[in-house]
């Protein structure tokens, strides 16, 4: 699980085009892991039709 999460994080960092030093990368990983439940919650939420972006 931990390896899978780390691989997912590394892929997202690459996709974002970030090139970070080791220390920043580890700090970011820690923060990303900490935030993951909230992000999962955001992505799991199914918007209603009327939940349109602000216009």
């Amino acid at each position: 699980m931990a390896d899978q999460q780390r691989a997912q994080f590394d892929a997202e960092v690459r996709a974002a085009g970030l090139t970070l030093g080791d220390r920043d990368l580890e700090l970011l990983y820690e923060m990303w892991l900490d935030w993951l439940p909230q992000r999962d919650r955001l992505r799991a939420e199914v918007p209603a039709l009327e939940d349109e972006p602000w216009r």
Binding site: D24, L27, L28, W35, R41, L42, E45, P47
Partner: protein, 469 residues
């Protein structure tokens, strides 16, 4: 000088100036003297504009002598968070990267304050780029809480709160993206007002998130905040968010009282939350009783989608990353280590996350709009806990628990005011928060004033004898 400015709120300074019991030069010298005496410990100012302030004060006095008083801010010394531009004065945003940055134009709100006759005393400390963490060391310390200098004032408008609470200015402006006015105001026993989004221009103000940034007052009393808001509110062609700005008479209706107002208590999400400090809960519940005693009708209400508000707030950090991307790429060492990962996180939200957040924001808006069909204002505790010791402040994590109380109202752009409602056993300020309908800041201020009038919390001052390290 017969009047000592350090104990006064802005209203009293304004009245003393109007009565000519005090000149603007005397007031300005009074604050400059207090800054010289106390700010080595309190660390609230980054740049003190002594010469410019005294010159403005002299002009204000000359105008007064000729019978011209521009309004309640005439000659009143104000401090600005160091992300609000004053032409020719360095503006650091609390960042080493901008240590020598000097804007060439005043921010819109700076011009409005000058037009109102105010004196700008200086630029005050803040958390780095409005998203960093408290710092007592380095080139730009973020300030110490005047109620206990071993504690952080919270942020990011930390210096604005410290300077206003300690009587090192008559009032201050801060900015608020997730709670940066209301958090430090609550921690320092002040009134802090995040106005309706689009009521106050951000042109000339360094950004954190364009969609969520607000500029507003931090003061010792509700009247003070209303007077500042009156000066800075209104449309500005350089900030398109203000195109629909609808201003009101913020001072005129202040004494309208609480009678007849219908208040909704967000009990489940805020009062009953297990993370809320017990003393803050008890003080807030007592404050609700005071409001009832003043004639307001109270009822419990709920907006279930508040549960999603922090998940919906964070993807807006994509805007923060976009703002900093180039500087981060070329000079990452110009950012504190505690800030860099927070900004990098903005790069890891996808466009789909950002749009999902926008859609959930709309759901939250509908939920809260429905509440405003039944009540006039929402009321709840203003903070999760009293001020923390520096060593206890969470340095990691993308957000803090305290943001639950503030960030949802940035998402919705609704007017929100914190007002002091007591002190903890350790002598630390506590507050309630009042939220109203868009562009009805006047009613929010009216209820805050009704509560303030019924209590004396706002008259208490921190003891300068304790400002030692």
């Amino acid at each position: 000088m017969a009047v000592s400015v350090g104990e006064l709120d802005l209203h009293s300074v304004s009245d003393a100036l109007a009565r000519r019991d005090l000149t603007s030069v005397e007031a300005t010298e009074g604050y400059l003297g207090r800054i010289a005496e106390h700010d080595r410990v309190l660390q609230s100012y980054i740049t003190v504009m002594a010469d410019q302030a005294l010159a403005r004060a002299k002009t204000a006095d000359t105008e007064s002598e000729r019978g011209r008083r521009r309004g309640p801010l005439h000659g009143v010394p104000i401090a600005l968070k160091d992300l609000i531009a004053v032409a020719g004065v360095r503006m650091t945003s609390g960042s080493q990267l901008f240590a020598d940055h000097v804007p060439t134009r005043d921010a819109f709100v700076t011009r409005r304050l000058y037009d109102a006759g105010a004196v700008i005393l200086g630029k005050v400390a803040m958390h780095e780029w409005a998203f960093g963490r408290p710092a007592t060391e380095g080139p730009f310390p973020t300030g110490r809480n005047p109620w206990d200098v071993g504690r952080a004032p919270a942020g990011s408008s930390s210096g604005s709160a410290v300077a206003a609470a300690a009587g090192l200015c008559a009032g201050a402006l801060g900015s608020d993206t997730g709670g940066s006015i209301r958090g430090p105001a609550a921690m320092c026993g002040l009134v802090g007002h995040k106005p309706t989004y689009g009521l106050v221009s951000r042109s000339g103000v360094l950004a954190m998130c364009w969609s969520l940034d607000h500029v507003g007052p931090m003061t010792r009393s509700v009247w003070d905040s209303a007077a500042l808001l009156q000066a800075i509110a209104g449309a500005d062609p350089d900030d398109t968010s203000t195109r629909g700005a609808r201003t009101q008479d913020y001072l005129g209706g202040l004494e309208g009282g609480a009678r007849g107002l219908r208040l909704g208590i967000l009990r489940r999400f805020y009062v009953d939350w297990s993370g809320l400090n017990d003393e803050v809960r008890a003080a807030a519940v007592t404050a609700f009783d005071v409001l009832k005693g003043e004639g307001a009708a109270l009822t419990d209400v709920d907006a279930p989608s508040l549960e999603l508000s922090m998940a919906a707030w964070a993807p807006f950090l994509a805007e923060t990353y976009e703002y900093h991307k180039e500087h981060l790429r070329t000079r990452p060492e110009g950012y504190r280590e505690s800030l860099r990962p927070r900004v990098y996180m903005g790069a890891l939200f996808t466009a789909a996350d950002y749009l999902r957040a926008q859609r959930l924001r709309e759901r939250l808006r509908r939920d809260v709009e429905a509440l405003f069909e039944r009540v006039d204002l929402l009321v709840f505790p203003g903070q999760a806990a009293p001020a923390l010791r520096f060593e206890d402040f969470p340095m990691k994590g993308l957000t803090t628990p305290a943001m639950r109380y503030t960030a949802p109202w940035n998402l919705l752009g609704l007017p929100a005011v914190v007002v002091p409602c007591g002190f903890s056993r350790e002598g630390l300020p506590m507050s309630i928060q009042i939220v109203g309908r868009a562009f009805d800041d006047a009613t929010v201020l009216r209820l805050a004033r009704a509560y303030e009038r019924a209590t004396d919390w706002h008259t208490r001052r921190p003891d300068p004898a304790r400002w030692r390290r």
